[in-house]
Amino acid sequence: MPARLRRTLLATAMAATLVAAAACGGADDDQQSASGPVTLVVKTFSQFGYDALYKQYEASHPGVTIKEDNIGKLGDYSPKLQQWMTAGSGAGDVVALEEGIISQYVAKPDKFVNLLDKGADALKPDYLDWKWNQALTADGKTLIGLGTDIGAQGMCYRKDLFAQAGLPTDREQVGALWPTWDAYLATGKRFLIANTGAKFYDSSSGMYQNILMQQGDHTYYDKANTFVADSNPAVRSAYDQTVGMIQAGLSADLDQYSPQWNAGFKKGTFATIACPSWMLATIQKQAGPENAGKWDVAKVPGNGAVRGGSFLAVPKQSKHQDQAVELVKFLTSAKGQIGAFQAKGNFPSSPQAIDDPVVQGLTNAYFGNAPVGKIFGASAKAVKPVYLGPANVAIGDRFTNALLAVEQGKLPPAEAWSKAIDEAKRLVK
């Protein structure tokens, strides 16, 4: 019966935020002049690895105290963020925006401080071009956030399964097996013939997103925010390539983050998985120590790839906008990104940080000492910028669900495609 409470709770939350909004005029009692002591509230999800950086910043900026308010899961964080932004209060001074979330807000930039007004244009060379552009409005006049990490992507694979299938196991040679996705498909077919009992990859949604993001330029929307998913050949081609891999029987048909998927790492039910840098920790945790040394990382098919990654932004509702912008600049600087990378392995989005020996020299013992810093760095730099429109995540959900229905054998690919297009159109209205 907690389900019964859910609607009431939602409504209550909306009401509460409204009340808070009404009250917020005089609520902020630590409002101070720019020079006085301030507390900056930073809202994050998951792990940003900023603890040490906060201490550094506090030491060099007397009078500034930083309080991080962390919400574990992105799924829980993003509705809360929506409430704060809609209600005009609660968002604190700095908010973390994930790649998927930021595209919604870039379409409505008025809720955030325009960082271009705060001298951010001088920092442009400190970020990868496409990362910078993701936080920039289509007219190029407003920048709502600065990049933190990126999910630079590689292809993780099981050496023991590759050996059983008579494929090379050395990461250079494995990477050479798949310069393109077609080559990856061909390798997958070779793998299946060997009949190891495992499928070639875990889930089609990951592959689809990967291929789509490599097509470059734009996906479901053009740069004027017009819906073009049905006419953009890039989307169709990513979809068709994924369907091709499903039809070849490559997919283990495991929904990512489901218990079967988790168990799949341990049982070795799939041989490869497209792995953003943050995924390595997941693999290591799920596959467990008994599988140490079986996994390795190679380059991803095509020209690099990224999936996920975040930004820091300052909401207009912040009472200490200038101090908050300073903090954002510090945390997202090359130095800050290296610090976060050392703390939690979040891969930097700053070319200077990527080229830093600390990052370049990183290897991962669990993955056979793979030089992950080099592999992910090369992947990140090879990626072409992609423009993501406002409802990008919601539309993407429709397409991955269509692919899942194809995987389950519930719809033929053509029907699933038109269903996804229909749903997406209704969504955009």
Partner: protein
């Protein structure tokens, strides 16, 4: 001489001088107002956390309200769209389907369990408390455990089916299979709760009725049908309405069963998406708060309609 001896109206003794005018006024107010004051906490809380959100949701539902906040008054547009939205009706059908699939066996089973618990048993109290245990478990835990039981590759149900030669079922891929899996979770949690309600009602049935029936030679089953069920009818009406309300708001079980990153859609083709899930998806995944509010109000209306139907049907059958 007839004297009409009507009792003389007693002369009111002069009122004792009121020591303090204000004090008496207060005590009069006290008499009149304090009962309202005592019951006010509920109504105040209800106004703040029940009525206000309800009305505010209605207000939002009349607007084009998204991430940027109020995008203008659009009247009943959201509702008009909703009526033509196949995903919404799909969610309604799913919710009603699972409601029937979960409630009917649940209440029948609860009745049987209650009848059994009403017997002279050893460790009766322990058994009675035992049936309540499932409710103590968190829904999330139930969802996770049952998701594994109904797992496609390594699930216990498919394992058992394999023993009798049935090929494994992808429980999430079809409507019927996912509905069964989710209804099982609901049944597991709520059967005990309902049977305790029935048990309480059964306890109030006079023993003599059963004794007389036994003397007349009625079997236990006959007694159950002709005495027990009619006597606990008010409890049945209550549980039917409560289960309907809960069933219309089914959310957590299908959400956890769905798994994955886009679980809120309830399967690849929305096989088991309930109305509450659809509301959440529109409001918080697609950031269309106005539309989400319209769905919330439709849930409210649907529950009201169903409750009334339930009430009428059960009252009619009582006659």
């Amino acid at each position: 001489m007839v004297t009409q001896q009507r009792p003389r109206a007693a002369v009111k003794p002069p009122a004792p001088p009121r020591p303090r005018e204000r004090g008496s006024l207060l005590s009069r107010w006290d008499l009149k107002a304090s009962p309202y004051l005592y019951i006010s906490p509920f109504f105040l809380l209800f106004a703040v956390f029940g009525l206000f959100p309800l009305l505010y949701t209605a207000w939002v539902s009349l607007h084009n309200w998204d991430l940027g906040g109020d995008g203008g008054f659009i009247g009943l547009d959201n509702y008009a769209t909703l009526f033509g939205d196949p995903d919404f009706w799909n969610a309604v059908v799913n919710t009603l389907g699972m409601l029937v699939l979960a409630t009917v066996p649940q209440l029948l089973l609860a009745m049987v369990v209650a009848a059994l618990l009403n017997q002279q048993l050893r460790a009766r109290l322990l058994l009675r408390m035992g049936v309540l245990l499932p409710i103590v478990t968190s829904v999330a835990a139930v969802g996770i455990v049952f998701s594994q039981i109904f797992d496609r590759d390594a699930g216990m149900v498919n394992g058992l089916l394999h023993l009798v030669g049935v090929s494994p079922i992808d429980w999430r891929a079809d409507k019927w299979s996912s509905w069964i899996a989710i209804s099982t979770m609901v049944d597991w949690r709520w059967t005990g709760y309902n049977s305790l309600i029935y048990l309480a009602a059964m306890q109030s049935i006079p023993r003599e009725l059963y004794e007389a029936a036994t003397v007349d030679g009625a079997s236990k089953i006959r007694q159950f049908r002709s005495i027990t069920v009619p006597m606990i009818r008010p409890a049945i009406v209550f549980t039917v309405i409560m289960s309907t309300i809960a069933g219309m708001q089914l959310f957590t079980e299908p959400l956890i069963f769905g798994q994955g990153t886009y679980a809120i859609s309830g399967g690849s083709l929305r096989q088991f998406q309930t109305v509450s899930m659809y509301m959440f998806e529109k409001a918080f995944r697609d950031a269309d708060l106005g539309y989400g509010s319209a769905i919330a109000w439709m849930i409210f209306l649907l529950i009201t309609i169903l409750a009334v139907i339930n009430f009428l049907v059960t009252r009619r059958s009582a006659k």
